[in-house]
């Protein structure tokens, strides 16, 4: 059994209400931080904890906070990124829905640490129910003196507002999110300047993911050093993994970083194995943007070691034989799934979600989708496969924001590990043309 510090109380009936949350130790961390600690002491604990951004990039949170320009007079902002839209990821939605006060408490502590008196939570527009739940929790926090003026009798004031997005994956990118919050199109900004210097309304701003901010609560409760003892090496603490695809128990699981992928996949406590007794074909371990790995490379590294759910282990082998932890969206593919179809599907997603601002992404995502569509529908040629690799390479690293990389990596990885399937599609147009849902028999493809 792994230690749970975010979701341990989720089973308590009524934990979504202020009263039950508080009676079960809730808001103790906020009280401790505001009454007994200085903002820099809070930041110090977060630094000690080794907490890394849970939205996907894995950047150390304490370091991100320390970059915030605290010298320029005037307001500073904390913005919570709840624009969860990475395919395969649904943990923030779960957290907000089940235990909204944990996020509210995390927001209070973090805002205090950053000296922000106004904090916005940008929630993706589709999550209307969750917006309702969170808004109610915020209202309760106001009613109980945890928000508003002179919180808990201190001189600290804080307002938290929920802001609804309206359907755009790109707004999960922090500068696009800020543009969107300002009422504009979600076009990512050029960096530098970074939000820590010039963010929302041109003011110093920190943007953090829901899970990251929620994790600040246990860090203050147990202390940064204690938090850092959970996990392995630089992957400290616990992580919410969103498990989906062809498994017996899809859902959100809190794990201690360091859990072997194989245990997570097969243990009845977690995914419960591949559905229907089928064999495992591949896993995308960190949301659709990270490289897909075939069964052999996801369970063991190329060196034959157990692959663990940590930032380091999942990326072991680089992009040749590794992937990334990303946002923790764990998508499992059984033996019947068609990698070409899935790659086309993901590329269609990125094509649809590209903001269109910079040319490699705007033009490249559409180009890849068209070629993949042909391949998937039996109109591909052998040279298309190398063309895709080349186009992906030309997008990668050359765009304003990471969406370009996110679109390129899945294509490159799918071809790297499943080239035979792409070739099968080229060589058997009549078969693949008609396989709308039923995939091409795996065994057939492996013969190629």
């Amino acid at each position: 059994m792994g230690r749970k510090i975010l979701t341990d109380k989720i089973v308590i009936p009524g934990i979504n209400t202020f009263e039950v949350y508080k009676n079960n130790g809730g808001y103790a961390a906020a009280t401790k931080a505001l009454k007994q600690m200085t903002p820099s002491e809070v930041t110090e604990e977060v630094k000690k904890s080794g907490l890394r951004g849970r939205g996907g990039a894995g950047f150390p949170t304490g370091m991100k906070w320390s970059f915030l320009d605290r010298t320029t007079p005037g307001p500073r902002y904390l913005v919570c990124n709840a624009d969860e839209s990475e395919p395969g990821t649904f943990k923030d939605r779960y957290l907000i829905e089940k235990i909204p006060h944990l996020l509210v408490e995390g927001l209070i502590i973090s805002s205090f640490a950053l000296g922000a008196e106004t904090t916005y939570v940008y929630v993706r527009g589709e999550f209307k129910t969750q917006i309702g739940i969170l808004s109610k929790a915020i209202r309760e926090a106001y009613e109980n003196g945890f928000l508003g003026k002179n919180i808990l009798g201190t001189s600290y004031n804080l307002d938290i507002y929920v802001h609804s997005g309206a359907g755009a994956y790109i707004c999960g990118e922090e500068t696009a999110l800020l543009e969107s919050l300002e009422g504009k199109r979600g076009n990512p900004r050029l960096k530098p300047p970074f939000p820590a210097v010039k963010g929302l309304y041109g003011r110093p701003t920190v943007v953090n993911n829901v899970e990251t901010l929620a994790a600040v609560v246990p860090i203050i409760n147990i202390g940064g050093d204690e938090y850092a003892k959970i996990g392995i090496g630089k992957s400290t603490g616990t992580k919410l993994i969103s498990a989906c695809g062809n498994i017996n128990n899809p859902g959100v699981y809190e794990i201690e970083l360091g859990l072997p992928v194989e245990t997570f996949l097969n243990s009845p406590e977690y995914c419960g194995g591949v559905k229907g007794g089928k064999s495992l074909k591949a896993i995308v371990p960190g949301g659709s943007s990270v490289p897909i790995l075939p069964a052999n490379l996801i369970l063991k590294t190329a060196a034959g070691e157990n692959r663990l759910i940590t930032y380091e282990s999942l990326s072991d082998g680089g992009f040749v034989s590794g992937s990334m932890l990303g946002s923790g969206g764990f998508i499992v593919y059984d033996e019947n799934q068609c990698i070409v179809r899935n790659t086309w599907n993901f590329t269609r997603f990125y094509h649809h979600e590209s903001c269109g601002q910079c040319s490699p992404c705007r033009e490249g995502t559409g180009w890849m989708e068209k070629v993949l569509h042909r391949l998937e529908h039996g109109e591909g040629r052998h040279k298309d496969i190398d063309l895709l690799v080349s186009v992906a390479k030309r997008i990668e690293g050359n765009t304003i924001c990471p969406l370009g990389d996110a679109a390129a990596w899945p294509v490159a990885a799918a071809i790297r590990h499943f080239r035979h399937e792409f070739e099968y599609h080229v060589e058997n147009p009549e078969i693949v043309k008609n396989h709308k849902h039923a995939p091409v028999p795996l065994k057939e493809m492996e013969k190629v």
Partner: protein, 192 residues
Amino acid sequence: MSQNIIPHHLFGKEGKEVRFSAETLEKVNKIISRYPEGQKKSALLPVLHIAQEELGGHLSVDVQDYVASLLGIQPIEVYEVATFYTQYYLEKVGKYVIEVCRTGPCAICGGEDITDYLSEKLNIKDGETTADGLFTLRTVECLGACGYAPVMQINTEFYEFLTKEKIDKAIEELRQKANLDKPKESKWVEKF
């Protein structure tokens, strides 16, 4: 497959007078007050959501112009935003907008069959509205509910672990509901 002909066209003003009720206007002003002085434009996304819900189900040019006037911005600034985000409808839609997730995790759990089934059942294609004006079918990208795949969202409600039976039931219920003269839901404060 993405189309080569981009199906955009110029929109026309209907010249209808649109405005929020005094009650809604008060709520809109409350939303505006969440943002600092001089940053009224920040309220654009939430206000467009309210406008869409309360002023006819989609964002007609008249509605968008009205929102621009409320926020003191140029109409083009609203058009730029309304066309960027997929939750804003530029054309008239049905009373219930069925949005089926088409992205990977749903697709490998049978999401494509769900779309096909709905299309067949309602006798409409992706993007179309039934003749009775009740249902619009749209395929959308990831709804962030992959663990409950396949999923769809009808207006604000999520429907999870979809099967044909569940779809039949949902559609039937909505047909029944549409017949009742239901009072307008007004839970907007908590929704936007």
